[in-house]
Symmetry: D3
Subunit: 318 residues, 6 copies
């Protein structure tokens, strides 16, 4: 349950769920025994908690920002809720994911499925250099590949959940593949490759907490933005794949120009067909998600002001 | 052959092809016989021609701006080319089309195939009112439907050839269908319908010559533009289909907003998901064609200044 | 009196005035008798009211959103004001209007006088087609003509009161007539006609309550705006008047372009003299009212920030 | 006649008209006699001319850039036209004016009439300080008042002829007076005064030739523009009229803001009603003239590209 | 001490410092004696104060808005602080300045030193006319010269303290002198002169209180802004110095164009080298101060939103 | 001499100077001897030349695009100039430079002096990491360091000559050092370092010919621009210098933001003081050169339209 809903319940109510321990200290009670003094948190709320007679082995295992399955009883101190913990367990990743998914904080599709689809796209790239470059980014480089799997696609708004970056990337690639299927003027290897790496810089632009949820921009993210970071990030992979110079330039140009206009963050406008298409395909995915989210908050037949889209949104009623 | 290439040939050279008679007068020769005094034209050139002893039955049939198959011999008068016609025939539409296609002045796909595909999309719309509305536009209203089949999609640049409007419309619909196949949040009936009618106003905005080639904007096109004209044009069809008010508003909103921003011609920005998608799908088709055309004019590995896109275009070399 | 000023008065204070019944239910009191449970409203406040022993004939007549003359005594329940109604009467339109006028919610000039002036302008149009078109809009079409008489000119700000649209329309026409009197290059019939219909779309763009006061934008208003709606609205009148095509295009162009620039809502800029003048005449009326309203709120010799005009306003002091 | 039309005529054709002597030298012919070697000019053409046996008294009177009535015979030298002058006379101002008017280089209305109307507006200003200020500008200061009477209103385009500045000024004042007649919220003295002086800076911004025709911008005009120059020019008049500080600020604000927006040349937007109205009234006059001129160059029923207005202009056809 | 920190102290705490008397009335106490009823103020807070048995000579001397050295004891009335004054003294200017400097409300450098530096720059101008003009502004005209010494450079933000205008002016002149030292294409006399007068209009644009601190814009400042005011202010000095017309125009052009672009307040862009440089030198000084102030409020290694600069500011951490 | 001036001379005129051999073939003459068939070029002209009886050793040494000292006699073939070469010598670099300098195609200051000054700035950086990074760019990396010394600063306009990039870089650094000397809030090491590397990407953005003169943009220059290229180019140097992460981010941010606004090519605006200053210092140098060049082309007291600066330029006259 969301911690924000705790206070709808009476003293003694049993709470069980997966939360973050945002503060953790071991103190000594008046009776001389050690107890844990916690702040238990979800996305929006922090609730103080005590774990009396905390098991000694737990003391050595727990850390601030650990994500744990917690069982506790609800109490009130001066009308503020407080928890008395009586069991703590390190949950399996899958258990955490289900919890996040039920709260809408994780991509609807399974991460593993999406990773398979990503690998499928990479395997389908026929140009050896491009395929090697993609493998260098998404497989060989273990740390980056691991981060990419679960990274959010934004700090807030569309795709701002765990796995959001991967889901957005695949949506762009799917539409790209459709375009290629009908138009043989498009260089499919190039467009698919550009689609898969276009937002890679977001891995370094967006800061995540212990759960993997976005909490803001990193220092590098604010000072350089994901476009510059992304160009830098593929450099090494291009080197490893010994990619020819022409293609390196073009891939970087695709990243650099994919926001379409200087005032939207791209100092150069797209100069090749695939870069131009990438810009619109990126928008198709991003705006679909954003509109869907905004319309869900709006009653059918009525309007709602969207701060992200800077206009009124209408939820059609038919 | 293009009339511009006539002068590469010697006196007496035989010319046979499909041209427009842009001026046609019957005069009387010194010998008292009637002869035809013509101006024979293709897209770029006008060549004077004489048809001595013109058959009497032809005189009653021919009109200015007729499109004819002409056989003639080349002559020169003060170094300017002149034709002596000896046979004239009204060509079949198919014959005309082949001629246009070979000159790049007609859509690559066969008109009949495209019309079938259009009808298929209409038949696939499950909402009765929307389907009826589409039928009212594209079938019942014979004149509009006929015009739509062969209308160009622009005065110059992308899709500026016979059948270009239909081809662009289908490209938008194809991409729309792909999006719907993967995202059940999109109302497919609405998006397909909007895709099919979004540029219907171009039928009244773009002026065509006897061959159906674009020659400029109509008076209504300059004063009102295709967005306003399109909204007006679907009104009657909505009435015939007794389409519910909610859907009429939404369809008109889709047309009105599909250029995305006021400075691009849409006084309102898209307020519903399908209108937003339409804007990007429209660009995907238009910019694909434009980029392809521009890149074909550019040597691989070099740049070219595009006046339409207002930037340099690069023809990638790999 | 304004309901917002009720609480300046003691219990038992007598209230008499014209208000809207925004909620109306008949309930049964503990003594078994029917009573009316009301919410009595003016522009800004809602006050609960009880009508004990409500006459049976009134029960069948009253409806939510009726506008009534109410007499009541003031009471307080937990410091909130409450009214005890003892008489209710359906007021004459004139009585309502006087009440609105005293609150600044109605045009300063009498509606009837303004309608006469409007008819005078129409009668003065010498071109038969244009005059017929105007009659079709403003007389023959009873419902639209009735709405137009009392419609507000805006949701808030300048002319945002009953009759404001008519008053603004006449101000534009008056200035137009002056211009024509001094410049015979202007086609007076065209400019006057365009002036009279330029904002006709506001009848369908702005939503009004039972009193006729603006409460926001209609669905059509938000999705299409008054310019598109206006073009649509004159189409039928043009048809009835069998107006020649040239003039239909020009009138629609005048409506379409009267905001002057794309970023101000007009996808085409004015292309004929009369359309260009209309743009400035429209502003003369609108900005005069807005400035006058803003300056009245400002002390002489001091400045005030205007949110509508997005600048500081100065009330000159001499 | 226009010098550009000379060559339609045969050798010996008699020319008589008012022209400028743009080059003037006295030379000695082979026969030992003095002759005048001229360049005779109108707005667009220069033609060489000889005045054989030029009268001695003329030699002392003539100067380069003099405006003269010339009689001559047409000759040709290597196919270029050349004039042989046989009479020269200094024309009366009225004679010059008629000549200019017939060439469209002078205001349609008589200067004297316009000056009378200007004086009428000044006399009608009831506020003593404002009236004194206007008199200081338009009467007392002889040089400025004289220049203002005949100054052009622009270098090219609308009102770019002799007397154009005065005519434009009066058009603005006329419309201003009309607005005041119907709206007593407007301070008429202020609006009329501001209308009369709003473009006074153009006297110093636009450079004129000997005939009074605009030839470009002055140095001060390019470096400071007419708005800054105008503010400076009324300062002395305000001082003479001992105008109160409040009104000086407001008048300067009216001049400073009358272009409406920074990108149109006004660093502050209008902050008082009369300044706001002045902006639209200025446009009404300027755009009326510009549109009228552009439409006159356009065939009825067709369009023309206007470089000044940066759009197509349509000449309506009804 | 800042009045905002008073409440950290207990009843009876002794307060001594320099404050403004923003309200001052003499009343009669119940014992029949006169007492002073004050409001004692600093930049941010007003505290009520009583001066029992106020000396009769003080009553005649004190005025509202006087700046005084006050000694008082702290008291509380219903938890709000109140002062009981027991000594009041008119402080020396130097004493006031030290007090202001310690609160960051005065330029870091001594006013006298800055005035000396200013005089040094003036003395170094070799062109007699320019030097005379500067002397007319900064010495001869006593009132303006006095105001300029202590005027703030802005209402808020950079250089918004006493002496800020002078300090900013000198910073611009210092950088200007450096540029000239390395580039002999620059006319040093002109650039230095322009630097010294470029913001002179701020003396009339910014309103100051009795202490000389900025409290907002003057009426003239809002209606005309400092650029127009500055041009006007140097006119008389140019006259006195009999400066040649060419230089007057250029100096005014430098003032007029120093904001660089219309949307930043300059209706003309710089047209001469020195005007162009002035624009960047002005920014170097202004932005240095603004950034320094903003970074001081930001923790090293973190970001802060700057409302003035409309972006995030980073305080580098190394 | 410039080849464009050849035709002012008669047949037989002796030509001696330094030119580029833009085409070079060895052919066999009718007499069976080898001769050189050249195209001899300077910046603007190509002239055909023959070298009869070309020495055998030269044949092995010469290459297309070599820069040579050539002696030849002028001839004419069908009125076109042609040269008969009789001596060719590989000139010393200094000899080439003098030739270029006399044509205004080389920096006014000696390259060696400027390199010394650059090394001085580097040596003065006290922060070890920054100094090491600069050495890695400007010394260790021989190829880049060599290119940087003579690279032009632009394709055309300001600093578009050999050594222009270095001269511009030093101008920015000089002004930066001046600012630091007076303002201890600036981190001098950072600002100097940023100044020295801010335009390093131009080495890869601008294409030069054999003489080192700019001939256009490279492919990488068009697709990525010098800002992105520069960020990439310092990466390796940062790695070599083991520069701390914080400083790498900041240096890249300085490069990324130094154009100030998105529409001027910087996707992020400056977020730290030194980045902000760099933007204005860059402009001070660039605009000084540009204005100086433009004013030199303009008569004193007159205006000239500058296409680069998009405004009129005035050459002040005093």
């Amino acid at each position: 349950m969301k911690l924000g809903e705790l206070t709808k319940n009476p003293r003694g109510f049993r709470v069980a769920g997966i939360y973050r321990i945002s503060k953790f200290e071991v103190k000594t009670a008046k009776n001389g025994k050690a107890y844990g003094d916690f702040l238990i948190s979800d996305l929006s709320y922090d609730v103080p908690a005590k774990y009396w007679d905390i098991p000694a082995d737990l003391v050595t295992v727990l850390q601030e920002n650990s994500v744990l399955r917690i069982e506790a009883a609800l109490d009130y101190f001066k009308e503020s809720p407080q928890l008395t913990v009586d069991a703590v367990r390190i949950p399996a990743q899958q258990e955490i994911d289900e919890s996040l998914k039920s709260l809408g904080l994780m991509a609807p599709r399974a991460i593993a499925d999406m990773v398979n689809q990503l690998q499928g796209y990479i395997a389908g790239v026929r140009h050896g250099g491009l395929r090697q470059m993609l493998l260098a980014v998404f497989s060989a480089n273990t740390e980056l590949a691991e981060q990419f799997k679960r990274h959010p696609g934004a700090v807030r708004n569309h795709h701002a959940y765990i796995g959001g970056l991967l889901q957005h990337t695949l949506e762009v690639a799917e539409n790209a593949a459709d375009c290629c299927a009908r138009n043989d003027k498009i260089n499919k290897d190039l467009l698919i490759t550009a689609a898969l790496i276009h937002d890679i810089g977001k891995v370094r632009e967006i800061e995540v907490d212990a759960l993997g949820l976005p909490v803001g921009f990193t220092k590098a993210g604010k000072l350089l933005r994901h476009i510059s970071l992304g160009i830098e990030m593929i450099e090494e992979a291009c080197e490893e794949a010994r990619l020819e110079e022409e293609l390196r330039l073009i891939l970087k140009h695709c990243i650099l120009s994919h926001h379409g206009l200087p005032e939207w963050g791209s100092p150069v406008e797209p100069m090749i067909l695939e870069a131009e298409l990438l810009h619109y395909l990126d928008n198709l995915s991003a705006k679909s998600e954003q509109f869907t989210r905004e319309q869900e908050r709006t009653e059918p037949g009525s309007f709602n002001k969207s701060f992200v889209l800077r206009r009124d949104i209408y939820h059609a009623n038919f």
